[in-house]
């Protein structure tokens, strides 16, 4: 993926398929620490622990007949390449939360891209789902 906005568009496919009614995309920028955190939070079907353990593998997909699932593994790779971190927490029946932390000044940090275009495309293609976007930029 060229930029983070495309990763978001890609990743959000998962909570859409998991039957979410609300998906939150939150960008938290901590300028003084050169950190950018991306949260993707949904109220979809969630995952059990066994699935959660393997979901970051590129050789896992929940879709029938598919042997690969690159979305989560590519986002994780993008975060880790900046010496950041990647966490995914989920509870069956409750929802899933992804937290990808990027070191924003790292040479391998990808550009943000057109986040608003991503959100607009998501809203237009899935009007039945509420997409919430928040940019928590601050100078701390």
């Amino acid at each position: 993926m060229e930029d983070l906005s495309l990763h978001i568009l890609d990743i959000v496919e998962n909570p859409i398929l998991a039957g979410s009614s609300r998906i939150e995309v939150i960008l938290e920028k901590k300028k003084k620490e050169d950190i950018l955190i991306l949260f993707i939070i949904d109220d979809g079907s969630g995952m059990d622990k066994e699935t959660l353990d393997i979901v970051s593998s590129p050789f896992y997909s929940s879709k029938e007949g598919k042997r690969f699932g690159l979305g989560i593994s590519l986002l994780k790779q993008a975060a880790l390449e900046t010496e950041g971190t990647f966490e995914i927490n989920s509870k069956a029946g409750v929802g899933t939360e992804i937290k990808a932390l990027f070191k924003s000044e790292h040479p391998d940090m990808k550009p943000l891209g057109d986040i608003m275009l991503t959100i607009r495309m998501l809203r237009l293609s899935h009007p039945e789902i509420e997409f919430y976007y928040e940019d928590r930029s601050n100078s701390k």
């Binding site: 690159l70 237009l124 293609s125």
Partner: protein
């Protein structure tokens, strides 16, 4: 915030337009493939190009939707056009310019754009 009657009218019109994108009895259906492979090769711009054409046309009988990977990753970005009563046609290696031609020729006039089409049919049965 208090809503005024004209605000409600605007919301109603907006909802009607957005609902039209996903459901209803459409004469034609546009499906853009938005799997990881599609997005990595520019599917978002293709989606925007189709939506721009759709908006400019003012047509209300065209359904727009998205789907995932069709298993033909090397042919992305891709879209499937389906005219009611006809087999779906897959278009591959799309560009904004091709989208414009496909929209005008196939979606609006029903003529398959052979140079950009991979073939007829769906990637899944059932």
């Amino acid at each position: 915030m208090k809503l005024k009657p004209e605000d409600l009218k605007k919301i109603s019109e907006k909802m009607e337009a957005s609902t039209n994108l996903r459901s209803g009895a459409g004469r034609a259906k546009i499906t853009v493939h938005m799997g990881t492979c599609g997005i990595a090769t520019g599917a978002r711009d293709i989606m925007k190009a189709f939506l721009d054409e759709l908006e400019a046309s003012g047509k209300k009988d065209i359904i727009f939707t998205t789907t995932g990977c069709a298993g033909l990753c090397s042919h992305e970005p891709m879209a499937t056009i389906e005219i009611q009563g006809e087999s779906p046609v897959k278009y591959v290696h799309l560009t904004k310019e091709k989208v414009k031609i496909i929209f005008e020729e196939h979606v609006l006039n029903g003529n398959i754009v052979k140079g950009s089409a991979l073939g007829r049919g769906s990637e899944r049965v059932g």
